[in-house]
Amino acid sequence: MYNGEAYITGSCVIRKNRVYRDGTLLWETPQAQELQEFLRAGYDQFSGQYPKFHKMDPLSKLGWLAAEVLLKDAPLNNYPPESIGLILANKSASLDTDLRYFDTVKDIASPALFVYTLANIVMGEISIRHGFKGENAFFTADAFDPEFMVGYISQLFLENAVSACLCGWVEVMGPAYEVILYKVERSSGGLAFNADNLQKAVSF
């Protein structure tokens, strides 16, 4: 009988114009480069052929790009789409885009911006790209809370609600941003999924 154990099988960190996968620096651009230019360069570097990316807000672009980096060479193809979950959190929800949208309201409200005025849209973009159809939730908190993340997701594994998931922190507010995204799977082969290992996996 399955005992709810799960394992961290990958991680991606994007901060300070650097992209890390499993603790290794994969790619970086000059620190002075602005976020939108960095994201466009990251798209060209790791993906391409997905024009919808250009319409996304910075929050969705960041989460989408991290998922791309994480799944490019190791997709979650061995699990039914209904069993792959997405659990994310951040501090500012969609405020970065909300403010941009509010600016357009003074003239003619932008429909293209309006559709991104919810934080969980980033999970929709990732799900569409990779075909995920499982449980999802987006939390807001002052800081990334590994204990909470492990508690919530462990319960999902224990209840067989998911067999794999992407989880972590996707934050952006103005020029400040940070992504910490983990791949967690039922099958063994990585670090045990606990709060200590979540922190260890991205401590560099």
Partner: protein, 86 residues
Amino acid sequence: MEKLMAALKAQIVEQLNLQEVKPEDIGDDQPLFKDGLGLDSIDALEIIVLLQQHYGIRIANPEQGPEIFHSVRTIAEFITAHQTAK
């Protein structure tokens, strides 16, 4: 008409943030939605905003949308007819 269609193509690329499409890549009669240029319902709303911002035109009857927005040419014809009627 040619000049208006060229302007519309540039405005569509700009307004819809089609970063991987050049204005000259859009055919005059190419369908804009589904299998054509692949625009979606949010893009349709953005084109409505574009018509309002650049040409001062409001779509009075939403049911006309599919006919007006079929291609760059049909949009240009709609603008021309609207401006002539003024």
